[in-house]
């Protein structure tokens, strides 16, 4: 229990310790796991990157985004297009275009030939889309369920668009069969391990970034916007701007996760970016504890891991288990598994209820009092 408490309580020293522990575990994994399991873990880490972003946007900012598959997919498809072009060689045409398309590379694929512009586009395209969409939505004060529905519709539309453009996006088949990642042979186990380490490193950096954002003034504003948007506005801040920033950061994290997912999983298809996977991302975050720092990461990895191992033991039984777990967490632990530690601690301390922080009163907030930023004595 002490380990769990240390992991999940966001005190400074403890966060650092938890972070160091997570880094050590991630670095140790290649020594313990078989290449196949390591590959799986690398894939889970990519999905966890999406969860980190959702943790910030939903857990901290209250933006229930049901469409992170769009940004994950954008990053993934942009990277996949680059890998396909790189495999085809200079001036070459990806194999599937010869089969189903015109045999010509469409103009909008061309900027992805260069590795540098591919990486830039992976970051910039999702960021630009999220900024544009966020600005349009949040300045009109669309929030709550309306925002959730809108983001989900976007995911559905994105998947349908990809399926319809078989000649240029591979349709339902998606893009797969990549031979190399920036020149490194993907069949070589050493390179697979390198990819895992890159994914682990990027994930750790993302967690650090979220931690940094959370404890910054921006983080406090974000929580304030979540709990009392109007008050923040009356104080002279622009809540829309705060939300847009959180949404863009979450989108970029999802895109980077997608971009790394492609060489690791070896495939991206519309089934990985539509409504169902978008909700899947959310389930991990909710189970782990959306408003904690490590909750979304651990929840996401745990759910992915459980999905794989349970489906190996009981093919077809997994889906019931996921549903049951989700219902249990929502019913009994609205703050996620990460809130168990906080609850136990509070019970032990038996603090008088009057001392509970105001955040507890917010109906849809869920997180324990430890998540509300400290208040200055006016």
């Amino acid at each position: 229990m002490t380990v769990l408490t240390a992991l999940l309580r966001p005190g400074r020293a403890r966060t650092l310790a938890a972070f160091a522990l997570a880094a050590a575990l991630l670095l140790l994994a290649p020594a313990v796991l078989s290449p196949f399991r390591l590959d799986l873990l690398a894939k889970f880490l990519c999905l966890a990157m999406v969860a980190v972003g959702i943790g910030l946007a939903w857990g901290r900012g209250g933006l229930l985004t049901l469409g992170q598959g769009v940004y994950f997919g954008l990053g993934a498809y942009l990277m996949a297009m680059h890998l396909k072009l790189a495999d085809a060689g200079p001036g070459g045409v990806p194999d599937f275009m010869l089969l189903y398309g015109t045999g010509q590379v469409p103009g909008w694929w061309e900027p992805l030939r260069s590795p540098v512009s591919a990486i830039l586009l992976v970051l910039l395209v999702p960021a630009a889309l999220a900024a544009l969409l966020g600005w349009a939505v949040f300045t009109r004060r669309v929030r709550g369920a309306y925002f959730a529905i809108l983001s989900q519709a976007l995911a559905a539309a994105f998947a349908i668009l990809l399926i319809g453009q078989q000649q240029t996006t591979g349709g339902t088949n998606g893009l797969n069969g990549f031979r190399a990642f920036f020149g490194y042979d993907l069949a070589d186990p050493v390179n697979k391990q390198m990819l895992y380490l890159i994914a682990a490193g990027v994930l750790l950096v993302m967690v650090a970034v979220v931690r940094w954002l959370t404890v910054s003034r921006f983080g406090e504003l974000l929580v304030a916007v979540r709990d009392q948007e109007d008050r923040v506005r009356f104080l002279g801040y622009d809540p829309a701007l705060v939300k847009v920033v959180a949404y863009v950061v979450a989108a970029v994290m999802a895109a980077v996760g997608g971009a790394l997912f492609v060489p690791i999983a070896g495939i991206i298809s519309p089934a990985d970016v539509g409504v169902v996977p978008s909700i899947g991302f959310l389930i991990g975050v909710a189970i782990g504890g959306r408003a904690t720092l490590l909750g979304p990461v651990l929840g996401s990895i745990a759910v992915s891991w459980a999905q794989t191992s349970i489906s190996e033991q009981f093919p077809s039984g997994w889906i019931y288990f996921q549903g049951a777990l989700f219902i249990l967490v929502i019913a009994f632990l609205p703050g996620g598994l990460a809130s168990v530690a906080g609850k136990l601690r509070r019970r032990r301390a038996a603090a008088p209820p009057g001392e509970a922080a105001p955040g507890d009163a917010a109906p849809d907030a869920g997180p324990g009092p430890e998540l509300v930023p400290e208040r200055s004595p006016a």
Partner: protein
């Protein structure tokens, strides 16, 4: 009131830790590079264990998700074949040990589970897959690991992997004979209806090329998203186009809605027959016989095929899974695929992938559909095309047959009109 920022120090320290972590990654060794356009690198060593009395094989079907309803039947047929082979003494004297995995109707999961079966379970061969997307997802995995996949479903052709055996029909064994049959019947115009994914789009590309060369007019081509159930618009278009026949490449649930709407609009098999390539005995029950009676299908096997091998297969299947369970083309192709693998392994005297593929050419098996022969060049099998009519009993009865098994030609190289396709 000013909001106060907290724990700047913590954040700085975190950044330092992450930077240190990144340095470690930078130091980690990198592996082989490839030259752009170069050949793929050498494949992994096989870990298949054939030292004991058993040998492992993998079944990879979607047991959950939208495809489960179809793929479960294939899974059942594979289980039946494995039981029969084990009861008969196994393969090369070794009992088959089955590792089942769920593809969850998602290409990414198929790729992951294929990798697991090959590298963690060390299976000698994998049987399964249904959608083209799942096969395309698994193909690079099997090629990279140099393992074997037996794929049991009719598909859009234009593929031939050294690591895959295709025991379902390719286009020249199903779609082309169906078109030949329609031409024979005097069809001059066609309306194409399909689900929006790879198989229907590729099939329709082929049909368009065929139509151009055979003076058939394509009066309409419509696609519905997979799982779509509102067909009033499409059926209206079909009705007003008044074609001689409809070529249907819809998949799954959409067929139920399409045929109900088709009947509601007052059309029937007599005035505008629909030829379907994805409706087998299993689906007829789901659509409702009354909605689809008299319509045509194109396959290579029906439950009504009259042969001693088929009688035995149907009886064994019903004894195992119940009297009400029909047998269908993909099930038969899956059942056959396991026996064909057995033939190849016994011909080769070895479970090694290279030996099995070397022995593949000419491997034969007296399948329920008739005698099938493996083509060692393109890894497809010669199959007899059958056009069937759906009867009031819910079964499909052969209306026309190609008589001889048709040699597989996945790239349609033997057809002049198909020159521009691949």
């Amino acid at each position: 009131m000013r909001l106060r920022s907290t724990s700047r120090n913590g954040a700085t320290r975190l950044s330092t830790v992450s930077l240190a972590a990144l340095c470690v990654f930078a130091l980690s060794a990198c592996g082989a590079r490839v030259d752009a356009g170069g050949a793929p690198s050498a494949s992994a060593e096989s870990c298949v264990d054939t030292s004991g009395d058993t040998v492992k094989i993998g079944f990879l079907n979607s047991l959950s998700g939208t495809m489960a309803i179809s793929e479960q039947t294939v899974h059942d047929a594979l289980e039946l074949a494995a039981e029969e082979i084990n009861a008969d003494g196994g393969v090369l004297g070794k009992q088959l040990e089955i590792v089942s995995e769920d593809g969850q109707s998602e290409p990414t999961v198929f790729a992951e589970k294929a990798g697991k079966l090959i590298t963690s379970d060390c299976v000698a061969a994998v049987f399964g897959g249904w959608t083209s997307a799942s096969r395309k997802a698994m193909l690079p995995v099997f090629e990279a690991q140099d393992s074997l996949l037996f794929y049991p479903v009719q598909y859009e052709g234009l593929e031939s992997s050294p690591n895959i055996f295709y025991t379902g029909a390719t286009t020249n064994q199903q779609i082309v004979p169906a078109l030949d049959y329609l031409v024979e019947q005097g069809t001059k115009s066609l309306f194409l209806v399909g689900s929006d994914y790879v198989f229907p789009r590729t099939a329709n590309k082929i049909i368009n090329a065929y139509a151009e060369a055979h003076d058939i007019e394509i009066v309409g081509e419509e696609y519905a998203p997979l799982g779509h159930t509102d067909f009033s618009t499409i059926v209206n278009k079909v009705k007003s186009a008044d074609a001689d026949a409809v070529f249907n490449t819809l998949n799954g649930d959409s067929n139920v809605a399409f045929f109900k709407e088709y009947n509601n609009a007052g059309m029937s098999a007599d005035d505008m027959p629909v030829v379907s390539v994805s409706i087998a005995e299993e689906e007829v029950g789901g659509i409702g016989v009354e909605n689809i009676e008299g319509q045509l299908t194109a396959w290579n096997y029906y439950q009504t095929v009259d042969s001693p091998e088929n009688t035995a297969f149907v009886e064994a299947f019903k004894a195992e899974y119940g009297e009400d369970r029909p047998t269908s083309d993909p099930m038969e192709a899956a059942y056959t695929s396991l026996y064909l693998w057995k033939e190849m392994v016994e011909k080769a005297g070895s479970f090694a992938v290279d030996d099995v593929t070397a022995a593949a050419d000419g491997a034969t098996y007296d399948a329920p559909e008739g005698k099938v022969v493996v083509n060692g060049d393109n890894h497809h099998i010669a199959k007899t095309a059958l056009i069937g009519k759906i009867g009031a009993d819910g079964l499909i009865h052969t209306e026309w047959s190609s008589e001889e098994p048709i040699e597989p030609d996945p790239y349609l190289e033997g057809y002049d009109w198909a020159d521009g396709l691949s």
